[in-house]
Symmetry: C2
Subunit: 343 residues, 2 copies
DNA sequence: GTGAAAGCGCTAACAA
DNA sequence: TTGTTAGCGCTTTCAC
């Protein structure tokens, strides 16, 4: 395997010269530059990243810490991140954490053990503290999370996300506009300081605005995403509260589970119960009727995250916060409440 | 950040001694070993992988080349692989390739550019040639693929998979046993030298054994996994051939799409059409009725792949081929053919 | 514009 | 059992 030294002697130049053209430094004559490039091709030279990283005291790696494997929503984002990293000359190091794991702790460990230059946190909490940020020690971007629960200074990190509360509000408002007043909300937790909680707030706001009092019994928390228990929980909700005419699910995955649960208890969508959710995963196209959902621009989210991080890393750009919009896919799971049912 | 040198001077020993205890070499007195370990803790030493890799002329990285992001089936496998790599002290480098990309070509590129020690190929072709193997240049294991179409010597690579043909046979036989004779097969391609083709063979065998002639018009190829076009193709199939009473889908994803397509054209499962498939993805629990499928041990597949590769890498173990079994999840999508319909 | 040389942190002979 | 030392391939001052 050819090294920089081989190229140097092949071209009768010093290794430093080769290094210079390889790194696009100025101060190299066009002649020698061409000569070196030629040799690189000739000898099929591939730089040794280990050596490079050692000399530079850093790596070309960006860590991606993902919480929640269960969520198919992440897959296209991960793919986009990997692709973008590749394009920008970085290597993505994926690390999945379990529901119980702490992304900041694990992220910090990864940073030191793998000498990561930066971090992308996907599907994490929203309440980072200043201590969390300094524990990480490298620039990071919160993906699908605006992270505004904690006391973190926005200039200390970047984020790419949708406006969870606003989008949830929009979804629930659609239900309200269709005459629904008994609207359940389906989420893993209403107080997890994360996506769920933000969207739950949007739900509350929409209800409040419509003058509908919040009914705690209609707040359905699944705790985790284990399909069996999720189905059970939802079935119980629908059975106990037969007055429910609509469900706002904060994720497509839960919405799909809800449709199954509704079928299990012999009711139907949307004639008995309407459903709307947020995400737009591929599978949500396969429910019957097609799920009505607010589709997130998944690829774009991943691309943006990398773009921002690389700018911070390479160009010392300031941190930034990008908020993207969802697109309503009408689907067929939202119906009107029969006028007879109206209050 | 503390280096091996810091520890050495801190303990009044040579760097080589430190290196020895760090690498579990014998020939170190219990005393000094303890002293060094103590210093490591004290100084929060974290080894610099770049330096290590440079000295060893290799990395601690294993590449994972995945074809087919669209397939949610891979996610739990990827997760298991990442987890196992971590446990064994390796770093997983994920690389996704597109439908058109060549995994061997891209894998080989990855190996050189990232100096990978080994490769796991997930969801690839089954027809590697000897040239392919030598192009890769490092030990590799084919995950979910036994790779027996090509002229590859089994001792030149490892694999972890199910017996695709046999499992497909089993699935189709279930349909036959329930009185079905007009059985369509749903796959991306019957001749892609991959999973689809293997499973297609199992389908053919089951038909042959039951004395049912192969009807080319019942072989439904979706080409890709774009949901919109998949739905369209399946709808056309069902509409054109109203005599179909059952569908064997080689993947759960396509089976779920088929259920949607069937609903779209106003027919129902399983009373009009039965469906069975292979994989066992989480979402297949959410169809109504629940999809009848042969569930693959996804986590186990990932773990095994890493275990085998690491043994080959660390212990120079011979390559091996593991074949795992699926588990039938009965579900509710397979029904009997009404006796009146029997020939 | 180019070269010589030091050094990044670690491993592995080779000596002692 | 331990220490000394020469690299691994690359970047980067500092001379020229």
């Amino acid at each position: 395997m050819a090294t920089i030294k081989d190229i140097a002697s092949y071209c009768n130049v010093a290794v430093s010269t080769v290094s210079r053209v390889l790194n696009d430094h100025p101060d190299v004559s066009a002649d020698t530059r061409e000569k070196v490039l030629e040799a690189v091709r000739e000898l099929r030279y591939v730089p040794n990243n280990s050596a490079r990283d050692l000399a530079l005291q850093q790596t070309d790696s960006i860590g991606l810490v993902v919480r929640g494997v269960e969520n198919p929503f992440f897959m296209p984002i991960i793919r986009a991140i990997e692709k973008s990293c590749e394009e920008k000359g970085y290597t993505m190091v994926l690390h999945q954490i379990t529901a119980g794991g702490d992304e900041v702790e694990e992220g910090a460990r990864l940073v030191t053990s793998k000498r990561l230059k930066g971090l992308i946190l996907l599907g994490g909490r929203y309440d980072y503290t200043r201590e969390d940020a300094s524990a990480l020690g490298v620039p990071f971007v919160c993906c699908t999370s605006s992270n505004r629960f904690g006391d973190l200074d926005p200039s200390a990190f970047s984020s790419v996300s949708i406006d969870d509360a606003a989008e949830a509000y929009r979804a629930v408002k659609m239900l309200v506009d269709n005459g629904h007043t008994k609207i359940a909300v389906l989420l893993d937790s209403a107080h997890n300081r994360s996506v769920s909680e933000r969207r739950f707030r949007g739900y509350c706001k929409a209800l409040a605005e419509a003058g509908i009092p919040l009914d705690e019994a209609l707040v359905c928390e699944t705790v985790d995403f284990d399909m069996e228990s999720v189905l059970e929980i939802i079935e119980r909700l629908i059975t106990d509260r037969s007055d429910i005419t609509a469900i706002f699910s904060v994720y497509d995955t839960l919405a799909i589970a809800a449709m199954k649960a509704i079928a299990n208890v012999g009711r139907s969508v949307p004639s008995d119960i309407s459903i709307i959710s947020i995400d737009g995963i591929a599978m949500s196209l396969c429910t019957t009727p097609t799920l009505t959902t607010l589709v997130q621009p998944q690829e774009l989210i991943g691309e943006k995250a990398v773009e921002i991080l690389v700018d911070v890393l390479d160009k010392a750009a300031p941190n930034s916060h990008v908020q993207l919009e969802t697109t309503l896919r009408p689907g067929g799971t939202v119906g009107h409440v029969h006028s007879g049912d109206l209050a």
